[in-house]
């Protein structure tokens, strides 16, 4: 997440912080640093992240 931007968790009204989040797909795990609410854990993923790196990893895992 190169771009630093202010994001507010609507429920907790606190700023999201970059934090490690685990993802899983087809019995494989994948970890990334993404904005997350330090209070409730609400995650935010950008479109670039989802359609870029995440899609690439999905594709690779499907081929495994």
């Amino acid at each position: 997440m190169a771009e630093k931007q202010l994001l507010i968790c609507d429920k907790c009204q606190v700023a999201l912080e970059i934090s490690g989040v685990h993802f899983s797909y087809l019995n494989h795990s994948f970890q990334a640093q993404v904005p997350r609410c330090p209070n409730c854990g609400q995650v935010y993923l950008t479109e670039d992240f989802v359609t870029g790196r995440m899609r690439q990893v999905e594709w690779e895992l499907e081929d495994k």
Binding site: Q5, L7, K11, L16, P35, V43, E47, R55, E62, K64
Partner: protein, 757 residues
């Protein structure tokens, strides 16, 4: 998996030699030789030639060219001038020096009786592999009867060139009269020439083991062969001797001139023979031109017609091997799984079975592989989830229906339009059904999916459930004959529910009155119409009766290939799917006439004007009409059920719902609707994301963009929406989706606590 699916590949003709190579005494790899000549690379072609014949200058000069008699080109014009090409190759190859290999000396000794061309060929081949060779020649010079056939400077120079890096012992004036003198050798090749001594061996067989150590092989003119055959004999004997030295088992030299090759005769387009402008020698240009006349015959119907082999640039045998490797039990981290995506990229249309001379049915193997992968839990759900959700919807109470005509519980016939026809446009089903009722009042209706998506996903259990739904509906209606609109439904039902009698609805429809339609069309026969010649004829008859003129679509008529929908490949391999669509729509500039709802909508979605046969009969949609989006397809199915129940059975549908959901509207621009459709995302699902974010407050505020962003898991997918409030509802700004799951999502989204997990 059924062993027969793998065993059928034993009949594959990919490696069958072309007729010329089979007839060639050396079985020269003509395809490779010609390929290099076609590129004008005489040096590279020379290597292929030399590796096959050992003494290229001698063979080029003396070969009687049996390949010319065998050449398939004689059926259309004249045989390829292979011998002239060989001579020209020699003339134009700048590098003809043999290679010198640094191989350790072997401790096996081989004697060659006779220093003629056959003995020397055997000697050259074995000595080059560092066996210890001794040639016994009774005369004062080697070369045998070549001295009577060829100018000495030709063959002596050739001997010198080819033997320059090879050590062997040549004993002249040394006649062998008794094989006992050679008992110390590990193997002997007797090539004593025409009328030479055979030591009584020929009566005993070939080869003969004369003691525990030594096996004796015979060949060449001794066996009545001509010069070139004698040379070839020496090379095949060398191979047999090497096998013997490696295994200790004397086996006859293997030489077969049989081939089972088959090629598409349509490739035989006449091309006049190129005559050398100077004597018998081609110039380099002439050489290339003559080489290009060669078809490099290979059985390649699979490569010509099968989209999958063309896309992956792989032969079926290799695909079979990769499938076997992929299906081996074990973790993917520990073994190769080369074909997981390939298995899910096939359209499963049965093309190869139709075009392959050996009748290999690769699609049955690919389908079995999908089921096998699913059973092992290795089938990526992301490849098929959309169509399984679509099938579930079509089979749900929202869209499925099994009804006898009003006032009856059983019927003689039932219209089974398949799940896509009504999704394409409800009128295709409702109008056709009303027509059917007018002519045959005892016709009910059965709306559900044929089960193909579950079958293609490899989900055996789900497939069985889908079949059970059809079976139950059919039995409830009194086991009527099902009148089908889609050839794919017919294929599925014939294979998996053979007890259900079926017919095509088009045979029941009244011929249209002339002038009802107009214009010229090319009929695109769907892949599943391959087994239905009568259906193909019926569609043409109806279209002509309506007033259309039909132009040929030669590729499709030769082989009914898939529009890309079969096998549902678009999620597993979007690039492949697009390539298939582009090929199909590029076959003619004319609008297509189709009779499969999937062909119809896929072509329309890619800008290809086309009409469904029902458009011609009932003027439902114009050929230029845009197809419905995935969300509209879902709505169309529901609308169809509603229309039928309310208009034909006078029942209120859908029943009033007690559900008090959030009714606030979500505004989606046409551009976003189009993207949702392209990404196969239902608008309903994106609306659920917004409602979920709003109801639980699980959303992130983006102050710079002034919008909310949130996500929701629906089924296995995770959907994201960026939106803002707009009037009494919301406006969608953007969306995206992923297959990867956010771990602890249920906790972070407040549905569970860590303690619940």
């Amino acid at each position: 998996m059924d062993d027969n699916l793998l065993r059928q590949f034993e009949n594959c003709l990919q490696f069958e030699p072309p007729w010329c190579a089979a007839a060639c005494p050396f079985h020269l790899d003509v395809r490779e030789f010609i390929s290099r000549l076609q590129r004008g690379n005489a040096d590279a072609a020379y290597k292929v030639f030399r590796d096959a014949v050992a003494f290229p200058a001698i063979v080029a000069a003396l070969c009687p060219a049996p390949c010319k008699t065998a050449c398939i080109r004689r059926e259309s014009d004249e045989a390829i001038e292979l011998n002239l090409l060989e001579r020209a190759c020699l003339a134009h190859a700048a590098r003809q020096e043999p290679n010198s290999y640094n191989v350790p000396q072997k401790n096996k000794r081989v004697a060659v009786v006779g220093g003629g061309i056959s003995g020397l060929a055997c000697c050259l081949r074995l000595a080059a592999k560092k066996y210890q060779l001794t040639v016994f020649e009774r005369g004062a010079r080697s070369g045998g009867h070549l001295w009577q056939r060829l100018a000495p400077e030709v063959f002596l120079a050739e001997f010198e060139r080819q033997f320059q890096f090879v050590d062997y012992e040549l004993l002249l004036n040394k006649e062998i009269t008794d094989l006992a003198a050679l008992a110390e050798f590990d193997a002997v090749y007797v090539a004593s020439g025409s009328g030479g001594a055979d030591f009584g061996l020929l009566a005993q067989g070939n080869p003969v083991q004369i003691n525990a150590k030594t096996a004796v092989f015979c060949g060449g003119s001794l066996l009545g062969k001509n010069t070139v055959e004698a040379l070839a004999d020496g090379l095949t004997a060398a191979a047999a001797i090497e096998r013997y030295l490696q295994t200790g088992i004397p086996q006859p030299a293997q030489d077969t001139c049989a081939t089972k090759i088959q090629i598409d005769r349509a490739k035989l387009q006449p091309a006049p023979r190129v005559a050398p402008s100077q004597g018998y020698l081609y110039s380099l240009d002439e050489l290339v031109k003559e080489a290009k006349r060669c078809l490099r015959c290979q059985c390649d119907a699979c490569r010509t017609y099968l989209d999958l082999t063309a896309y992956y640039n792989k032969w079926p045998l290799r695909i079979k091997d990769e499938i076997q490797a992929t299906l081996l039990p074990g973790r993917a981290d520990l073994k190769a799984v080369p074909a997981k995506r390939l298995i899910n990229s096939s359209n499963l249309e049965g093309t190869l079975k139709q075009v392959c001379p050996a009748g290999i049915d690769i699609d049955s193997l690919l389908l079995a592989a999908r089921h096998n992968l699913h059973a092992q839990g290795k089938q990526p759900w992301g490849f098929h989830h959309f169509w399984l959700a679509d099938m579930a919807e079509a089979n749900s109470d929202q869209a499925a229906l099994a009804r006898a005509p009003r006032g009856k519980t059983k019927c003689k016939y039932a219209f089974f339009p398949g799940c896509q026809l009504g999704a394409s446009d409800p009128r295709y089903v409702s109008v056709t059904y009303c027509q059917l009722l007018r002519d045959e009042a005892d016709t009910g209706i059965l709306l559900c999916c044929c089960g193909a998506p579950a079958n293609w996903a490899g989900d055996t259990e789900l497939h069985e459930q889908a079949l059970e739904q059809i079976r139950r509906g059919w039995q409830a209606l009194g086991q009527p004959t099902l009148l089908l609109a889609c050839p794919m439904c017919k294929r599925q039902l014939r294979q998996y529910l053979p007890q259900i009698p079926t017919a095509f609805v088009y045979d029941w429809l009244k011929p249209p009155s002339p002038g009802q339609a107009s214009g010229a069309y090319a009929v695109f026969d769907p892949c599943a119409s391959r087994e239905e010649p009568e259906l193909r004829a019926k569609i043409r008859e109806l279209a002509r009766a309506a007033g259309c003129s039909l132009e040929p679509l030669p590729q499709n008529e030769a082989c009914q290939q898939c529009c890309s929908w079969g096998g549902q490949t678009a999620l597993a391999n979007p690039d492949y799917t697009k390539s298939v669509i582009n090929k199909r729509i590029g076959e003619s500039k004319l609008p297509y006439l189709t009779y499969c709802a999937n062909c119809h909508d896929i072509f329309a979605a890619h800008g290809k004007d086309n009409a469904h046969i029902l458009d011609l009969l009932y003027a439902i949609r114009p050929p230029q009409a845009a197809p419905p989006t995935v969300s509209e397809r879902r709505a169309n199915r529901r609308e169809l059920k509603k229309q039928l129940l309310t208009e034909l059975w006078q029942e209120a549908w859908p029943p009033p719902s007690a559900e008090q959901g959030d009714k606030r509207p979500l505004l989606i621009t046409p551009a976003l609707q189009k993207r949702l459709d392209q990404e196969r995302i239902f608008e309903e699902d994106i609306r659920r994301v917004v409602i979920f974010c709003e109801s639980g407050g699980r959303k992130v505020w983006h102050p710079q963009g002034e919008y909310y962003c949130g996500y929701c898991e629906i089924g296995p997918m995770t959907y994201w929406a960026q939106y803002r409030q707009s009037g009494s509802g919301f406006e969608l700004l953007n969306f995206y989706a992923h297959r990867m799951k956010i771990d602890l999502e249920v906790v972070w989204n407040g549905r569970k606590t860590v303690a619940d997990l």
